[in-house]
Symmetry: C2
Amino acid sequence: MPFSAPAPSHLAFVPFVSVQNMMALVHTIGIETFLRELGEYLEADFKRWPEFDKTPRVAAHSAEGVIELMPTSDSSLYGFKYVNGHPKNMKEGLQTVTAFGMLADVASGYPVLLSEMTLLTALRTAATSAMAAKYLAPANAKTMAIIGNGAQSEFQAMAFREIVGIQALRLYDLDRAASEKCARNLSGQGFDITICKTSEEAVEGADIITTVTADKQCATILSDNMVGAGIHINAVGGDCPGKTELQRDILLRSTIFAEYPPQTRIEGEIQQLPEDHPVTELWQVINGEAKGRASDSQITLFDSVGFAIEDFSALRYVRDKLEATGLYEKLDMVADPDDPRDLFGMLQRSKGTDTP
Amino acid sequence: MPFSAPAPSHLAFVPFVSVQNMMALVHTIGIETFLRELGEYLEADFKRWPEFDKTPRVAAHSAEGVIELMPTSDSSLYGFKYVNGHPKNMKEGLQTVTAFGMLADVASGYPVLLSEMTLLTALRTAATSAMAAKYLAPANAKTMAIIGNGAQSEFQAMAFREIVGIQALRLYDLDRAASEKCARNLSGQGFDITICKTSEEAVEGADIITTVTADKQCATILSDNMVGAGIHINAVGGDCPGKTELQRDILLRSTIFAEYPPQTRIEGEIQQLPEDHPVTELWQVINGEAKGRASDSQITLFDSVGFAIEDFSALRYVRDKLEATGLYEKLDMVADPDDPRDLFGMLQRSKGTDTP
């Protein structure tokens, strides 16, 4: 005998931000404002870094790539991101990196947000790089070389203009078509853009060098003689064991800043250095406990690999924008019987009701 | 100038099984068939246990509860479950345990299934218990005591009837209303049901004792004098540090079987025993490498805490049922630009198109 299923409570529905809604959210807010405000959320969370539960990401490596879970939490919110990295995907017309993430209420364990994070990761990676450069790059930096002009490159350019004031871009990629794609996408945005034939040419006159290539191998994107005094290097592409971009000698001449050293020593450029090589934690620079750039001639290096707290900040930002924009769907993701002990009764009573 | 966004490819859409669709799936298949077939999937995966990447779950503990990620993978599929455990939720009208999970393609890292897992976890936990009992319980077991009559109890009863042949249930809960709820939900299912006033009364004449209480504390649900020779104990409720249900003396008289000892020694009943106390891995019993029940007088104990491979089996089962039933939605969860390096271009081109 069919019963009618009672309507689930509001807690049973989890707000979900699809790719379409994430794009609409970026356009509604404006990408410059989005990157700047996201940078502010990142900065706020880096300032209270010790409040977070931190653990190196949980990685499943295979021959073709890696799948990772990146959890973190403070006393009220828990967040994690699912993310893959498959360099060979590009040849098959797929994204190298796809991602989604969620936030949950620590007090009840109930999910409060599910979101696409392929786009959001691109935005938070760029905003994190630019936030670090605000503290580490030479004063009045106007010119940035971008070596590697794939999916992340335009986001880096936009974030560095909004947060650091970059005006000129010098692009280089092994595949000139990628540089042309990047230049085309950024045309009409007011950048002074030069496509370069070599990485040596790209770094000429640059105040900041961003390396963001995707090959899963120890490559030398930058060699020692290419890096002059006073430069800030934003090393984004080297982010897993066996994948680095910089010649070791550059590291030895640089003051190195990292997000979470236990993870960076495994995944970042500094995997090339001894375990005890000195590294400054970025959060300490941001909250004033450690020095950022100390002189005009210093080479600063942000050895970025991406950390769970950055995803947490990004999800927190998106969540705070949902009510005003309405750019989300509601997913029937959590079973919510009237009597929490009566899960079986809920299942029984649903029998014979229409399927959705 | 608005461009029209190209339609995403089929890989951009992730099949999602909502709570409503999971309930419809159970009814379409029939709960008995669902539990039996799920048991077969579990058995197939336990038989090839060494093929899986195994890691203890990644837990974030707070004062009120725990939030966990449980990942595993074989050479072709990766899966993980998000699950919380908040015993105080029940008083607030919320589920103690909510969960969702996903499967992804190892070769590309792309998600291939997202599913509610609150109901699915209840089903897989019951099917796993019954599968273990098939190998460990006394021959021709007909009577089961269930101590703790909350959300998991009816699922245990249904799975043990379908897979083990249990006909009579002896129910006990500190709160008699829970036993009455359980008996009411199972009425008309052909069980011979007795509600008992004490746990001592409940175990009288039982061939199998299932303990499935929810308090996060070391409680003594079963004391040594209650457990006679030849009994199989299915200990489901003790599943985190500091939460046990059985008196230590019972453990010392039992032959103990566990899913994944590195996790069980932290979370299961055997957290009361020394690190080197002998434990048999269930998968070795199932693939014939180790002995299950050896005599009529032996006390067997399945110290169940739940392991990621069981969720993997359950997700695999659900995924295999989707095509024939159509009981899923498609989520726009993965950004999928035509040129994988052109994520920014995809974002730009979406500007001015209608929001969904």
